[in-house]
Amino acid sequence: MTGIGRRAVVLGGVGLAGLTLGSSGAIAAADLASPPGRTQPPATEDLMTDHGLLKRILLIYREASHRLRTGDTLDPNTVFHSAQIVHDYIESFHEGIEEGFVFPALLKANTLTDTVRTLLVQHDRGRKITVAIIGATSAMAMNGMPAAPGLRTAAGRTQVAGWLDAFVTMYEPHEAREDTEVFPAFREVTTDRQFALVSEQVAEAQHRDYGDNAVAHFLEQIAGIEKQVGIHDLNAFTPPEPRTMEGH
């Protein structure tokens, strides 16, 4: 069944149940209307998965910044490709969903208004940093500029490292705050019926804009970049057991 078809079914279920059942009854109707095995994940779960994707890019950025500052080898394309994913998916879709569904609901409920304003400022700042990173690391020579023009001098590499660091510094608390405060608050102020509809719409829009398995596709690309910059082995992040002073 197509996304639109599934949504029509869900809408039908809600339409029948929404007025007479409690909010939990409406969501149950939506669930019952979904085909077996095709349960729609809640929108907030999708958004948090996106945050995991972004977190892995932040780890790439951190490693890239380290290499730029130490002079270690770095393929500019790893940064360029990561920034393109941020631009094409996180900033163009994920943040649009937040700005279109999540933030308005909170503002309307007069909840976390200062936080939302800060998050909106940070979205804009992030988009501008991403544009700068893409321009500096572009893999193609364009408009008379060489490939990766921002990385050709020590000063340029330091500047790009600063942008990467700034992006990481901003987005770590940004997404942590959204996961722990903003999304739960959104769920709190949204009826079950509306939440089911939003979840369906988000999935439908994602499918329309990016096709099937969009996040899996991006994660596959990110895994490849992680290998390129040598941070793909999860076990490598495991520290040794702590040794107390008494152990010496």
């Binding site: 639109i4 949504r7 809408l11 809600v14 339409g15 929404g18 631009h87 900033e91 163009s92 879709f93 994920h94 943040e95 649009g96 969903i97 937040e98 700005e99 279109g100 569904f101 933030f103 308005p104 609901a105 503002l107 309307k108 208004t113 939302v116 304003r117 909106l120 400022v121 979205h123 804009d124 988009r127 501008k128 544009v131 009826t191 019926r193 509306q194 509809l197 939003v198 719409q201 439908e204 829009a205 329309r208 804009d209």
Partner: protein, 161 residues
């Protein structure tokens, strides 16, 4: 017909731009944010006079719209809430704005988006106060966004394609 994210959203604009939330009925059709009051003109540093909504928030055009269609939908419309035509009809032109240039184009998800010189008009979610133009020349959602002069001329920065 898919439900429009853009319509849902503009509550960001609701708080910050003084637009009116009409038809706040529950789903399935989300609320739509309509223009309230006249389209106005405001001088911005480095850009000259540009169009704003009645609350002074900067209006933008989207290059992929190609001067005629509304192509920013779904998540795009979350970040760039379209300026919808209210049920009462097209908004009036404030001082310096040309009435003849105000029109409307159909949104693929329903409703009519107000146009100027053929360009559908949008606000930017990250403009949090009148007089800001944080979205100017930003390349996002598949193309660049620009403010527009009351003459109908799109204001591109020097060197922009």
């Amino acid at each position: 017909m898919s439900v429009k994210i853009a319509s849902l959203v503009a509550a960001t604009t609701l708080l910050t731009t003084g637009c009116t939330l009409i038809g706040a009925a529950p789903a399935p059709r989300p609320s739509m944010i309509y223009a309230q009051g006249a389209i106005r003109v405001r001088a911005l540093p480095g850009m000259g006079e540009v169009l704003t909504n009645s609350a002074g928030f900067t209006l933008y055009v989207f290059e992929p719209d190609g001067h005629q269609i509304v192509s920013c939908t779904d998540a795009c419309a979350g970040s760039w809430p379209p300026l919808f035509e209210p049920p009462a009809g097209l908004p009036p032109a404030g001082p310096g704005v040309r009435t003849a240039m105000i029109g409307a184009a159909p949104d693929p998800d329903g409703g009519q988006v107000i146009t100027y010189a053929g360009w559908p008009l949008y606000t930017y979610a990250s403009d949090l106060a009148p007089g800001q133009a944080n979205g100017q020349a930003l390349n996002l959602n598949g193309g660049p966004w620009y403010v527009i002069h009351p003459s109908g001329q799109v204001v591109e920065p020097t060197g922009a394609s």
